[in-house]
């Protein structure tokens, strides 16, 4: 168990600032998710923590010790790569044993340790297979077992679920979370998938263009986004943003419902909503349309749960409403969240 801290870290590739002055600290045993679109610098940040990439500026501390210029092998970290990076010429057993051998572990102790790691991920029976004889899910387990086997103090994961199919991904997510809780490793997890981030993280770090946009628990990030980038990056469909009197008004699609379903002591705002298109996704219906009152620009989306029983059709206008409590306001020029209200 360890704390990881990065202080003013930057990584420049020529003119490109992949990571640009990031400060971040994990708590001990925390599951921290780095979330952002591709090219936002999250993987580069992770690679710098791992010691694979040397920072242009700034420092990395693991357990209060500066490790910035130390090679990966002395940092006591483990990393799972997006491609899993299993050694193709070695059996599963040898793959898992490799980190133990490199650390000069007593040969007699290795089999038991490998057995322990393999059992943890239910891959005891695959020990003699080569990676190419494994399915995607099995490979991922082997990669996790290889990472865990020497009980690192920090566990780094680079989009480890992105090569799995959707069904497997959900169960792998659950297993990963339970495993992390059980072992208590400080974990830093990189993903561009907001569902993974919301589901896994104790805290989420939202990054864009090499900088941190917001750090916080998933609910806080989702409900109180620090700026319009976070507001539109999280949530599917993203938060509706409409311009009103020099500010941007935001509300989540699931908070924008037919007026009869919205009631709140804090009051509601009701709009005539001209529906242009309906998308029935089974569990929910996405309703696309325009608001033509008060707001200058007005294309918004509403997300109706499947059990909300209303008959609406495209081409007609209905009264839709959002609770005032669910409205967020952003400065139009900086994009940052501000205080505000609607009449």
């Amino acid at each position: 168990m360890a704390e990881v801290e990065v202080q003013g870290i930057s990584k420049h590739f020529g003119e490109v600032r992949a990571v640009d002055g990031v400060n971040l600290a994990t708590a001990e045993g925390e599951f921290l998710v780095l979330l952002g679109p591709s090219g936002c610098g999250k993987t580069t940040l992770l690679r710098m923590i791992a010691g694979i990439e040397e920072p242009t500026r700034g420092d990395i501390l693991i357990d209060k010790l500066v490790v910035t210029h130390l090679p990966p092998r002395v940092r006591n970290i483990a990393m799972v790569f997006q491609s899993y990076a299993l050694y193709p010429h070695m059996s599963v057993y040898k793959n898992i044993a490799f980190p133990l051998r490199t650390r000069g572990m007593d040969k007699a102790a290795i089999p038991a340790k490998v057995e322990w790691a393999a059992a943890m991920f239910g891959i005891e029976k695959l020990k003699h297979r080569k990676p190419r004889e494994l399915s995607g899910g099995e490979r991922q387990r082997v990669a996790l077992a290889r990472a865990v086997v020497r009980e690192p103090s920090v566990f780094l994961l680079d989009e480890p679920l992105s090569n799995l199919d959707a069904k497997l991904r959900a169960s792998a997510r659950e297993e990963l979370r339970q495993f992390q809780r059980r072992m208590g490793f400080t974990t830093i997890y990189v993903t561009h998938d907001q569902v993974e981030a919301m589901g896994l993280g104790d805290r989420i770090v939202v990054m864009n263009k090499g900088r941190i946009r917001q750090v916080g628990p998933p609910r806080e990030i989702y409900h109180f986004p620090a700026d319009t980038f976070v507001a539109t990056f999280l949530g599917s469909p993203p938060m509706n943003l409409l311009e009103y009197a020099g500010t941007l008004v935001g509300f989540r699609p699931e908070n924008f419902l037919p007026a009869e379903f919205v009631s709140d002591a804090d009051g509601v705002v009701t709009y005539p909503f001209e529906i242009t298109y309906l998308e029935d996704l089974g569990a929910e219906t996405l309703v696309y349309g325009n608001i033509r009152e008060r707001f200058h620009t007005g294309h918004v989306v509403s997300r109706l749960p499947g059990n909300v029983n209303v008959s609406i059709e495209a081409g007609r206008t209905y009264a839709f409403a959002a609770s005032r409590r669910d409205l967020r306001f952003f400065d139009k020029s900086t994009g940052l969240r501000t205080e505000g209200s609607l009449p």
């Binding site: 690679r47 791992a50 010691g51 694979i52 090679p71 990966p72 092998r73 970290i77 483990a78 990393m79 790569f81 997006q82 491609s83 990076a85 050694y87 193709p88 010429h89 490799f98 980190p99 490199t102 650390r103 190419r132 290889r146 020497r150």
Partner: protein, 319 residues
């Protein structure tokens, strides 16, 4: 588009016809035919001729083919020069290729790194491959000259040669091509010089095929540079190293230019190889039958090497 309806006969589409290019059954033989014609004309026929000659008493003076059975093979095999040539051929090929593989591995690793002037370094290393072998070897002939060799000059300047009591003796020259051991070493050296570029390129291709993730994973797993080389890169590039090695074996086994230009097989046959001995016996000596028999001794070895190469190439594809 064809429409097949129940109860109605299928009607072929009008105006649409499959050309030769669409019919794989015809296209494949058609495209492979030139290669087969080439192999038959330039390899198949000469090979059959050589086999026929080796079983006959044909000479340049008497081109009529009278069969004498395995007489030529027996004759050749009990000739001590042939035995020297056979062992030299194997020795030169193995020694030079072992050196080539080690050196090319080091060079390839160096050239995979990022440094200033990398392009120039790669270009210079490739140069020997672009020079005609005969010309390159003539250059070496001059450098290994018995009197004017620059190597000797350097050794004399360094105080290692040409004075009483120094390491390499009091003689002013080493006579590179005039002493059997040095002559053999010189032949090996020139083979190494000539084949190093090809092997380096093959090894670089092998190294660049290893995913960067794997090496990084090994680094994170705690492997040092040596361990990564011995346990990750070498095992992963082994099939490709094998191909480079076998290529080199074939090239050195069949090459006569280097020995012919440098030593003509001398001194006293100590650098004789099968290809030069074939030439001296068959062409210069006029004994076509024995020349053919000598050259056919190479065949089983080269056939074995070729089949190994094909197998390795397939393995390299799989992993």
């Amino acid at each position: 588009m064809n429409r097949v309806m129940e109860g109605a006969a299928a009607v072929p589409a009008e105006g649409a016809r499959a050309g030769v290019a669409d019919r794989q059954g015809q296209l494949a033989p058609l495209m492979i035919a030139p290669a087969i014609a080439y192999i038959v004309a330039l390899i198949g026929i000469p090979f059959v001729m050589a086999a026929l000659y080796s079983l006959s008493d044909v000479t340049t003076g008497d081109p009529s083919i009278d069969f004498v059975g395995l007489h030529n093979y027996r004759e050749v095999f009990y000739d001590p020069v042939f035995r020297t040539a056979l062992s030299n051929t194997c020795l030169f090929a193995l020694a030079s290729q072992t050196l080539v593989i080690i050196l090319s591995r080091i060079l390839a690793s160096a050239l995979m790194q990022d440094f200033r002037g990398k392009w120039l370094a790669r270009f210079l290393i490739m140069l020997p491959w672009t020079a005609p072998i005969a010309l390159g070897t003539i250059g070496w002939l001059w450098m290994l000259d018995s009197i004017f060799s620059p190597f000797d000059w350097l050794l004399r300047r360094a105080g290692l040669l040409g004075a009483p009591g120094v390491l390499l003796g009091p003689m002013p020259n080493l006579y590179w091509l005039g002493q059997s051991g040095l002559a053999m070493a010189s032949v090996v050296l020139v083979h190494v010089w000539r084949l190093l570029p090809l092997a380096t390129v093959i090894q670089m291709a092998g190294l660049s095929s290893i995913s960067r993730d794997l090496l990084e994973a090994a680094a994170v797993d705690g492997a040092t540079g040596w361990r990564r080389t011995l346990e990750i890169t070498i095992p992963l590039t082994l099939p490709i190293i094998g191909i480079a090695f076998l290529f080199g074996i074939v090239f050195t086994f069949t090459d006569m230019t280097v020995v012919y230009v440098l030593t003509r097989g001398g001194p006293v046959h100590t650098t004789q190889v099968l290809s030069t001995w074939t030439f001296f016996r068959g062409i210069e000596g006029g004994d076509l039958a024995q020349g053919a028999a000598i050259s056919l001794f190479l065949f089983p070895v080269l056939a074995g090497v070729a089949s190994l190469m094909l197998r390795m190439a397939r393995r390299a594809e799989v992993t």
